[in-house]
């Protein structure tokens, strides 16, 4: 779980007038560069090299194959479907989390009883490890699990099915677990953003006769743009990093229907020992993540005339 992401992207590069008086700073940033940058760039470089090999991870003389891993990748149906799952997963989880998060934040700003209890319940999943919750969700969505039990008692027993055991429902299960886990964070961010909204704006809308829904859609929602963009970037990167939940709940199955790039790379590299191919997949994943982050940042800046 890396929730963290530089959505603000603020780099205060104010050039200071008396720069010469400042002591040299390179030694100060060196540890961070060595640890953060060094280790990571070393790994990326190493992965790049591995991606040109046909190697099982153990044999002493791996065979160099140039860019063949990459050309194979373009024709790999599983790679493209993993990418498609990631895109679908991002759209669905982002839209639902945003919707629930905003509604919940508005309600919590509206003088409601037991607000603290609600807040704790919705935020607790954020701090729990996906790896620990995975067996719980396997149990809940099993054919004889609690989810079907609830459906049964709501009179919806005809909807009961083996949720994680069939292709059509496995991906939605993975999505719902992710939504369960991250809505708390979305909510807290929107909650904080809403307390910054100028109350006179809302009062003016009310005087003009706007109802609750109208105020939410026309006044509150546009004021939350910054937060929404931030969360969008966060979810997009998060979707590309997805590993724990699909791996532990469905192992990418059934029939690869919950295969993500992370799980596919893990299977290729560790289980099937196609280390070279796994490395090529890693590099592609990295490039996609970088390009995406840059595009989203640029788009966010261009569309922000007022900020």
């Amino acid at each position: 779980m890396t929730v963290a992401h530089p959505v603000t992207g603020a780099v205060g590069s104010s050039s200071r007038p008396r720069r010469r008086l400042q002591a040299p700073g390179l030694p100060w940033i060196l540890p961070a560069l060595v640890l953060g940058g060094g280790l990571i760039y070393y790994c990326i470089g190493y992965t790049g090299f591995l991606s040109t090999l046909n190697w099982d991870g153990a044999s002493p003389d791996p065979q160099s194959v140039g860019l063949r891993n990459y050309t194979n990748l373009a024709n790999d149906r599983l790679f493209w479907s993993a990418l498609l799952h990631t895109a679908l997963f991002f759209v669905v989880t982002f839209v639902l989390q945003t919707t629930i998060g905003v509604i919940f934040a508005v309600i919590m700003h509206s003088r409601i009883k037991l607000a603290v209890v609600y807040k704790v319940i919705i935020f607790v999943p954020v701090v729990l490890a996906p790896a620990i919750m995975a067996p719980v969700f396997r149990q809940i969505f099993a054919a004889d699990g609690q989810f079907n039990w609830v459906l049964d008692h709501l009179g919806l027993g005809f909807l009961a099915q083996p949720w994680i055991g069939q292709e059509s429902t496995a991906l939605p299960v993975i999505m719902s677990i992710t939504i369960w886990q991250w809505t708390g964070l979305t909510f807290v961010l929107y909650y904080a953003a809403m307390s910054q909204i100028d109350q006179s704006l809302i009062e003016a809308a009310r005087i003009d006769g706007a109802g609750n829904i109208r105020t939410l859609v026309s006044i509150i929602w546009p004021e939350l743009r910054g937060t929404t963009i931030a969360l969008g970037i966060l979810s997009a990167i998060g979707a590309l990093k997805t590993f724990d939940i699909p791996w532990l709940v469905t192992v990418g199955g059934p029939n690869n229907s919950t295969q993500f790039l992370g799980t596919y790379i893990y299977q290729m590299t560790i289980q099937l020992a196609h280390v070279g191919y796994g490395a090529a997949l890693s590099i592609v994943l990295l490039v996609i993540a970088l390009v995406m982050a840059i595009l989203l940042q640029v788009a966010a800046r261009e569309r922000a005339p007022r900020d």
Partner: protein, 262 residues
């Protein structure tokens, strides 16, 4: 935000909130209820009786502590350097660090695997601590740098005029003044390290080194898929996290959302 005057709409809003929150509560209830199925407390006794169960907690704590110390030291030094000292090509270095934020963990697997084996770090705490810290540092530096940039320049100027070295400036100005942001860094680093699954999975082979995120998997083997005991172990491993959150609610919420708020 919503204006609810009439009694009826107040009740409606409360009902809506309850309906929204129930699906979030449901898995937690299912977890606790499932852990008591069959043998009741016996499930918990069986889990606790497994030799080395508490070792998992200890290992997670050691790794989290290691990551936090490393991230804190490295971040404070670098953020100060970036924000207040003279560095040629400063922004180039900074963006090099920031680019690492998009990095998925899985990309690190093979290189780290072969390298840790070659230098003898495989199956040691360091094999997990170092990459986890490396993954957290870029974001921590971004946050802390922004924070230090916001501190008044005059203060540092005055310290310099009074003859304080940059080391003294760091010790007597930066360290005390950055406490609020340090708390945020501490929390998200803690959560990131404590909850990580992939690194311990790949780099910690012997069972007495493994972390709590590997507990469910361990119990699948130990209890040959007895779900009730696996759920009991899930409850036991979730408790410290929930207690920590309840004790430090504000800190957790601020720390984890620091990513999106400036």
């Amino acid at each position: 935000m919503f204006e609810v005057r009439s009694r009826r709409s107040k009740v409606l809003l409360q009902l809506l909130a309850t309906a929204l929150v129930l699906p979030y509560l449901f898995p937690l209830i299912a977890m606790v209820q499932g852990s008591f199925a069959g043998a009741g407390w016996g499930n918990y006794q069986a889990v606790i009786a497994v030799p080395g169960f508490f070792q998992f907690f200890l290992n997670s704590a050691i790794i989290a502590a290691g990551v936090i110390v490393l991230v804190y030291v490295v971040t404070m030094l670098a953020a100060y350097g970036f924000a207040k000292l003279h560095i040629r090509f400063r922004e180039v270095y900074f963006w090099m660090l920031l680019a690492c934020l998009t990095l998925p963990e899985v990309v690190l697997l093979t290189p780290l695997f072969t390298t840790t084996q070659a230098i003898g770090l495989y199956n040691t705490y360091w094999a997990v601590i170092l990459p986890l810290a490396a993954l957290q540092v870029p974001f921590a530096v971004l946050l802390t740098r922004n924070f230090i940039n916001g501190l008044p320049e005059e203060m540092f100027e005055a310290a310099r005029v009074d003859g304080a070295s940059s080391l003294r400036g760091f010790l007597y100005l930066v360290i005390p003044l950055t406490r609020p942001i340090a708390a945020a860094v501490l929390i998200f680093t803690l959560i990131g390290a404590w909850n990580d699954y992939l690194m311990p999975l790949v780099f910690l082979q012997s069972q007495d080194m493994q972390t709590i995120t590997l507990v469910p998997q361990f119990f699948v083997g130990e209890f040959s898929n007895d779900q009730t005991k696996i759920l009991a172990s899930a409850v036991l491993t979730a408790i410290p996290e929930i207690v920590a959150y309840l004790c430090l609610q504000g800190l957790f919420e601020r720390g984890l959302s620091a990513g999106a708020i400036k």
